[in-house]
């Protein structure tokens, strides 16, 4: 168990304004050394809370965290971890190069500052004061601060949120070349495309739990579905569910909702079997919806088992 990252039985509940929010519920996750894993989930799924506990910024109510056989604090003290958190600004009154150099001085085996600036596309910003940077430039510098540690584990919490398309592309290119050096990378995102393109494996979180975990292609097939909605008052749900291409069917009043593995086949089968279906809509299921569906399934299975 010396290698890799292990999160075991993590629980975290917040109390806010008399409300209990179970942010993370009994989460287990293991990541092998050298793996690039996407932590995928809608907002509020518990991704950031999980990352904060992984990094030791937040103490779990229950459960344990091990980073290469060490506690988060030990791993950080050894300079094995680099991270880019979701929020956070840059120290002002320093130039970009000075700030990166300042951070580099804290690590036992930092990357050369010039290399990091080149890698993150910030060389042209090197002599600028940090308070003069744009939002996208700030993100790049924050990425540089995470990389300069030359960490074994790189943790990125929704790193591309403030970036435009081009910056996003550059960012992931850099990350890929960094990953090629055998580094372990965990990044949180709510973009399925990012997970698919840049991770070996995706872990889906919803409502504080892992609801699916597997190679990104599998996960994509699972959540990359389309939904057909139509007004169809009298069709029984179980016969809808038997239609070709339909994974699940649900009734909402006069409307039916079909989650489809193959929406082309499903729409043909639907119209063949129920020609009176009206007001038909076909759309890509949002991740959020797919996640909720997955969690509901799991919750109801657990309730049934109990």
């Amino acid at each position: 168990m010396k290698t890799g990252i292990h999160l075991h039985g993590l629980c975290k509940t917040f109390h806010a304004g008399g409300q209990r929010i179970e942010a993370v519920r009994d989460l287990d996750l293991s990541i092998g050394r050298g793996e690039t894993v996407a932590l995928l989930g809608p907002n509020g799924a518990g991704k950031s809370t999980t990352i904060d506990m992984l990094l030791g910024l937040l103490a779990p109510d229950l459960g344990s965290v091990s980073i290469f056989g060490r506690s988060p604090a030990q791993a950080i003290a050894e300079g094995a971890v680099g991270a880019m958190l979701q929020t956070g600004g840059l120290l002002r009154d320093l130039t970009v190069r000075e700030l990166v150099t300042m951070l580099a001085s804290l690590y036992p085996r930092p990357l050369p500052v010039d290399d990091v600036l080149a890698l993150t596309g910030t060389t042209h910003l090197a002599t600028q004061r940090t308070q003069k940077l744009s939002g996208g430039e700030t993100q790049r510098v924050r990425f540089a601060l995470a990389l300069v540690a030359n960490p074994q584990l790189l943790v990125l919490d929704e790193p591309t949120v403030a970036m435009d398309v081009e910056a996003r592309h550059d960012f992931w290119t850099t990350m890929r070349s960094f990953a090629a050096g055998g580094k372990t990378i965990l990044f949180a995102t709510h973009y399925l495309e990012e997970a698919e393109a840049y991770a070996d494996r995706a872990v889906l979180m919803a409502r504080g739990r892992v609801v699916a975990d597997g190679p990104t292609t599998e996960i994509k097939a699972m959540v990359g579905t389309r939904t057909i909605e139509a007004t169809l008052p009298h069709a029984p749900v179980d016969s809808l569910e038997r239609l070709q291409g339909v994974a699940r069917a649900e009734r909402r009043g006069a409307r039916i909702v079909l989650a489809c593995a193959d929406s082309d086949a499903a729409i043909r089968a639907l119209l063949a079997a129920f020609p009176d279906a009206r007001d038909i809509e076909i759309r890509g299921a949002g991740l959020e919806e797919a996640f909720l569906q997955l969690t509901q399934d799991r919750d109801s299975r657990q309730e049934a088992a109990a």
């Binding site: 103490a59 120290l91 804290l106 690590y107």
Partner: protein, 245 residues
């Protein structure tokens, strides 16, 4: 090595921060010339036995150095607001080294502020033996200890929006009641209050320049008590702020 590089950049940031430089260096200097310049020939300021230039030189050195070390608190609050302390918690820099760098840079700025005021004092005729200058400087540095702790306390307690007024107000009260702007009369309630304040003893370091030996036992006791009390408070505020739940 690590800490040297880190502290060097801390210091660089400080010197580039205009507001800070103005308040801890320029402001006291200008006030010194304004107040002491007008009274430069007063040999015994309000029966203190101290010349006006000497009295106000030490008074404003106390004011400038208080601002210098309390500035560490303002920087802590600003860095908290920025999420920078979270970033630093992901580096091998220990909490102790972080606070250490803040204290060291605060003290370095205090030394500069003091040196500037001493030179200004000499320009208005303040003179004494080298050993006296050193002793006075030493007393000021020791007398600043409570304010170092106060800075850390406020920096971890107060939001960055209100840290400016909080520190400015605190400095103003300590300065006024400690006798920075005018000597506290030897009798009355004000004197009793003043004696219990660490800022009063900073200003009292001026007596060394006029031949006295140093603080009285009361002085040492007051400075020590404030240092301990504020260090405890600083520790509490720090823990409360960095609690991980």
């Amino acid at each position: 090595m690590t800490r040297l590089v880190f502290a060097r950049y801390e210091l660089l940031r400080l010197l580039r921060n205009r507001r800070f430089v103005v308040f801890s260096l320029a402001f006291p200097l200008v006030l010194f010339y304004a107040i002491a310049g007008a009274n430069r020939h007063v040999r015994d300021l309000q029966h203190t036995g101290i010349s006006a230039p000497l009295y106000f030189m030490v008074g404003l050195a106390a004011f400038g150095t208080m601002n210098a070390v309390l500035g560490a608190g303002a920087r802590i609050a600003a860095e908290r607001a920025l999420g920078w302390n979270r970033q630093l918690r992901l580096t091998p820099l220990s909490a102790r080294a972080y606070l250490g760098a803040k204290v060291v840079t605060g003290y370095l700025m205090a030394l500069v502020a003091m040196a500037v005021l001493f030179v200004a004092g000499a320009s208005l005729g303040v003179s004494m033996a080298a050993a006296r200058w050193l002793q006075m400087a030493g007393m000021l540095l020791i007398g600043l200890l409570p304010f170092v702790a106060l800075g850390i306390f406020v920096g971890h307690l107060v939001s960055s929006d209100s840290v400016g007024p909080a520190i400015g107000g605190t400095t103003a009260i300590f300065a006024l009641l400690g006798g920075v702007w005018f000597p506290i009369s030897r009798h009355g309630v004000l004197h009793l209050i003043a004696q219990a304040l660490p800022s009063y003893w900073l200003v009292q370091a001026a007596h060394v320049g006029a031949g006295a030996r140093g603080w009285t036992a009361t002085g040492w006791l007051v400075v020590a008590a404030w240092t301990v009390a504020l260090a405890v408070a600083a520790r509490w505020a720090y823990r409360r702020d960095t609690r991980r739940d």
